[in-house]
Amino acid sequence: MKSTLALAGNQNCGKTTLFNALTGSNQHVGNFPGVTVEKKEGQILHHKDISLVDLPGIYSLSPYTSEEIVTRDFVLKEHPQGIINIVDATNIERNLYLSLQLMELGIPMVIALNMMDEVRASGNHIDVKCLSQHLGVPVVPISASKGEGISELLKQVVEMVEKQEKPQKLDFCTGPVHRAIHSIAHIVEDHAERAGYPVRFAATKLVEGDQPMIDALQISENEVHIIDHIVQEMESELETDREAALADMRYTYIEGVCAECVFKHQETLEQVRSEKIDRILTHKYFGIPIFLGIMLVVFYLTFSVLGAPMQDFLGTAIDSGVAAFSSFLTDVGVSPWLHSLLIDGVCAGVGSVLSFLPIIVLLFFFLSLLEDSGYMARVAFVMDKLLRKIGLSGRSFVPMLIGFGCSVPAIMATRTLSSDRDRKMTIVLTPFMSCSAKLPIYGMITAAFFPHHAALVMISLYVTGIVVAILSGLLLKNTIFQGDPVPFVMELPAYRMPSAQSVFLHMWEKAKDFLRKAFTIIFMASLAIWFLQSFDWSFNMVADSADSILASIGSLIAPLFAPLGFNDWRASTALITGFTAKESVVSTLTILTGAANDAQLSAILQTIFTPLSAISFLAFTILYMPCVAAFAATRREIGSMKGAVLTAAYQTGAAYLVAMAIYQIGRLIV
């Protein structure tokens, strides 16, 4: 028979690392709380009949955040045959808080005590046998990242599945809380059994005042009054509210267990080191300048020192390949029009985008290093103050950070925000964070106009996006989205040495995604662009693309961009095709200019733009509406086409105003 197990634990305690170790899969792992927001499933290695579900990290089983709802729904409704509860041994007290709640579910459970290597390294000790006896469940010491204790854990897991032994201890309380839970358990016993919920868990949740549980148990109004009366008695006896009473009960029990089983005489080395580093990196005044400085170094290394020679090398290799393919087509007697379609259309379009692969991979190499080290979590903390000023909480920084990679998952990640106001506002602002698909556009324009100041231009572009998001936030906060942001509580993980496997996995995934896009969407877009720029409305091939279908469409729109400084049909057409995918702006301009290589492209771009209008074009590109995939994600998350269209119109309007201001003010200065 097939068994399903749940892998549950706090955020950033190593769940996904353990999931990968137990299943042999390679899910994304990050030193960042909240990496998993959806459940993922895999088969346990060498035990194909046992599947493991990696659940999002949570601190309790109260249904407040989407992560808590996903985890709670799974353990309550899917009835797994067992739970592997991963506990961070360096933060054992806080982690056991969730363990006690999981034990109340009455599902067979094994505790995987992770990061025991760090506990040992700091000279501390945890008596695993003592812990197991007190909690009434098997406890296995492991180090998921080093693979220590995994085979012992597997043995315990298989035993748990076979024996189906439930946690032996469910009662952790004494006094008024004990009386309240037991009285309520008697009242709701029948309801809980009918609904398929463990009685003890249901009673505890009712003491907490958990509304979804009240609804699920279908308790009568009379019974609700009795329960409220019991809870009020408990509150007055303890002189505290219901939630605090239960938290206090659990922590009192945990303190007792830890006093006997955990021998801690000092903080772990990682904690001491992290505190020292944090004093500088999360400094009240220097935190944000340090972040900007780090990003400047990242851009300098990516676009100048390492990226430029790698891009030149790949560009030369692509040009040689295209030249050889072109000679081959001529030799086999392919007609000139078909030769043009393949070389000037497909090869020019796809090749122009492909040459940016090293830049993309390099940038994500550095971002992965920063994320895996734990620094990005600090940036969220540093940004909280700034984000609160524009009416958002620091939690919105996570989707915004993801937006630097791709707007689609960033918009989807707003699901983790509990407030609807924060969520909608973040969806509107996230596309202002420059996504990686726009990098080829920046690279193309920078190479043509500012080859010696690439890093500076890049950081200025990213800052422009952030500044416009801040100004938009202030505007929205005082108009459409009035109200206060929800408080932001985030755990800062210890700084760790980034794992080579995780960093290379990020780079490979990014490269794969980029190549997939180049050979599908950009390929098709290049074919369409070549056709539209090679034929007129009577479908006769034109000698000059200025007489083509595309030119006539582009010329209609081009005057709109005159105040922005680029009244050229090729530029306006490129912006429109950018709606399919932002990389299309580069492939379109390459096809329309007929450039055979990067040097030629730069020379032709200098006839279309001036340095000032090039900046204005870049500013418009960063800010205008995102690609069709991001637009679809916006419609899905906002829940209406009208909302998505208004969002896109706002973004394009903001892009137009900013680009126009840059060009018009720039003209007065230059």
Binding site: T36, S335, V398, G405, P409
Partner: protein
């Protein structure tokens, strides 16, 4: 139209059909995310977006 043109067009048509089928399959399956750095959905597929 030469014989080389015909062969080239057939190859191109097959490539285009392959890409369209691939994109269609992706859309039908709800699409799977790539590996954007820091993305909580990286590597995960999205059956909720299924057609």
């Amino acid at each position: 139209m030469t014989q080389a043109d015909l062969i080239t067009l057939v190859v191109l048509a097959l490539v285009v059909a392959g890409i369209l089928l691939y994109l269609r399959k992706q859309k039908k399956n709800g699409g799977c995310c790539g590996g954007c750095s820091g993305c909580p959905h990286a590597g995960a597929c999205h059956p909720e977006n299924k057609e």
